[in-house]
């Protein structure tokens, strides 16, 4: 909106003030159409930079997206932000209309759900840490199932005896649960209260905890090239201690 006002001031000098304003409104409408088309056509969430490439350099992409988000808010399809990107999604109150039975059949086990939550809220986390929180040994299969969903990834290795693999979530996880960022995870405050999320691993309170920042932490080191294969091969024995 600020930019809009500014432009008006600049063109205020001209006699053709009115005409220009009308033209600008038309431009803006066209920019919204372009964003609309891009967002509807996209197979995956789009980031603002990619969208900006298709718009005039002067366009304020963020403001336009917010405008579009508002326009779609009452509709059956909404514009939402997931993992810092933008995407169109059916309105969540219409779930009853569209609920897909076949997907429900791919239900996760209780162990897998708990493990997913621990990875999400406590990442980067090793299998031993997951086991410590759950108080039970976690089968390799459980982590494999989560890797297969595409929500959990191998991050690196902890700089500790045995160099255990660290796990974290990724953008697919955020998109699946409609989260813009990890800080939007529900119940994060309660977990902080329960001492689950304490930042003691990083020792640096400026780092949001949990963090899915792809950059490795100080206590992590990169995976070797063949770790990724191992991590996904269900049969492979893959010890962490």
């Amino acid at each position: 909106m600020a930019k809009f006002a500014e432009m008006r001031v600049i063109i205020g000098d001209k006699d053709k003030d009115e005409e220009d304003v009308v033209a600008e409104r038309a431009d803006r409408a066209e920019e919204l159409r372009i964003l609309e088309a891009l967002l509807f056509a996209a197979e995956a969430p789009l980031d603002e930079k990619d969208m900006a490439k298709r718009l005039p350099a002067s366009a304020d992409v963020r403001a336009l997206l917010e405008q579009l988000q508002k326009e779609y808010e009452p509709r059956g399809v909404n514009l939402v932000r997931v993992g810092g990107k933008w995407t169109m999604r059916t309105a969540s109150d219409l779930a009853w209309l569209l609920t897909n039975e076949s997907v429900v059949s791919r239900k996760l086990s209780r162990a897998a759900i708990e493990t997913l939550a621990i990875v999400a809220y406590h990442q980067p986390v090793t299998r031993a840490e997951v086991e410590e929180i759950r108080g039970v040994s976690t089968s390799k299969g459980t982590l494999d199932v989560l890797l297969e969903t595409g929500w959990v990834r191998l991050r690196g290795r902890r700089k500790a005896p045995g160099r255990p693999v660290t796990y974290g979530t990724n953008d697919v996880f955020l998109a699946h649960f409609g989260l813009d960022a990890l800080t939007d995870l529900p119940g994060l405050d309660e977990l902080k209260g329960a001492g689950l999320v304490d930042g003691s691993l990083s020792g640096d309170f400026s780092v949001p905890v949990p963090s899915d920042d792809p950059a490795l932490r100080e206590d992590e080191e990169p995976l070797e090239p063949d770790d990724l294969d191992l991590g996904l091969a269900p049969a492979a024995e893959h010890r962490e201690e």
Partner: protein, 280 residues
């Protein structure tokens, strides 16, 4: 051991597996000893911060005891926890001065256990909330028919001036060299020379220098030797056969030719009478 508590416990286990007969201890229904402890703790119906670890340890131990009496297989994790709880219980019941040198106090150990239970409960609540969120492909949906972006690769052609010139020069030269070979085949044959001489000189009864007849063919310098040689040989032949007369005033002087006079007469050479016919 408190029999009343054990009963309560058994009832709750029966509830978990309502289709099973009562008094069945179902260890497999739990996600490990902490899960079992948490389930037992919930029965105290108090805030986990105010939980009685001692009572909890009792419940856990009696649960395991009952399971063993029924000869159920119990995973090692549960037995390790049972041993640890039995130890904790004994420590909690003993006066604190008997604590081992440098070790954690029984109270610390109890608090740590309570903390772990709180943490597990918190993560379970979080998991529940997370799974309760609208999920993609279950509750909310992306575009069913996305329109993929078509990649168009636009070629940007490159060539340098050097490429251009060297390609041109190479091609033109290759072509030119194939022509250069042609003149070597282009020998002025004796037959050709004779035919030309007969046609050209044959009509003239006047002396004419040989060069004049050759001019037409001398345009190309490379042809001079072959034309000259063949023509001279042809002249000699024609003279011998009596068709033509030749005259040369001296060595390297121009060679004059004329058709043989039928009468033997004719004009003399412009610069004097011929000295010796057929002199080369």
């Amino acid at each position: 051991m408190n029999a009343e508590m054990t009963d309560v416990e058994f009832e709750s286990v029966a509830e978990r597996a309502s289709d099973e007969p009562a008094l069945v201890v179902d260890v497999e229904g739990f996600e490990g000893p902490l899960d079992l402890l948490l389930t037992l703790a919930r029965q105290q119906k108090v805030d986990l911060t105010k939980i009685s670890i001692l009572a909890l340890a009792d419940q856990y131990l009696s649960f395991i005891e009952a399971a063993r009496k029924m000869r159920l297989e119990i995973a090692a994790d549960y037995l390790v926890m049972a041993a640890w709880l039995a130890y904790l219980k004994s420590r909690l019941l003993l006066p604190e001065q008997h604590a081992p040198e440098g070790g954690a106090s029984a109270e610390d150990m109890a608090n740590a256990l309570a903390g772990r239970l709180r943490r597990l409960e918190a993560i379970r609540q979080a998991a529940e909330q997370l799974m309760g969120r609208p999920q993609l492909g279950r509750d909310v949906f992306a575009r069913g028919l996305p329109e993929p972006i078509e990649e168009i690769k636009k070629p940007e052609w490159t060539a340098t001036l050097y490429d251009l010139l060297s390609a041109y020069a190479t091609r033109r030269q290759t072509k030119a060299r194939s022509f250069v070979r042609l003149p070597t085949r282009n020998v002025w044959s004796l037959a050709e020379a004779r035919e030309t001489l007969e046609r050209m000189v044959g009509q003239s009864f006047d002396w004419s220098p040989l060069d004049q007849y050759l001019i037409k063919y001398l345009v190309e310098p490379a042809m001079i030797p072959t034309v000259l040689a063949s023509t001279f040989a042809a002249v000699l032949e024609l003279v011998r056969e009596g068709h033509m007369e030749a005259n040369q005033q001296g060595s390297f002087a121009p060679l004059y030719l004329r058709r043989k006079q039928p009468t033997g007469g004719g004009d003399p050479l412009p610069s004097g009478p011929p000295a010796a016919a057929g002199n080369a």
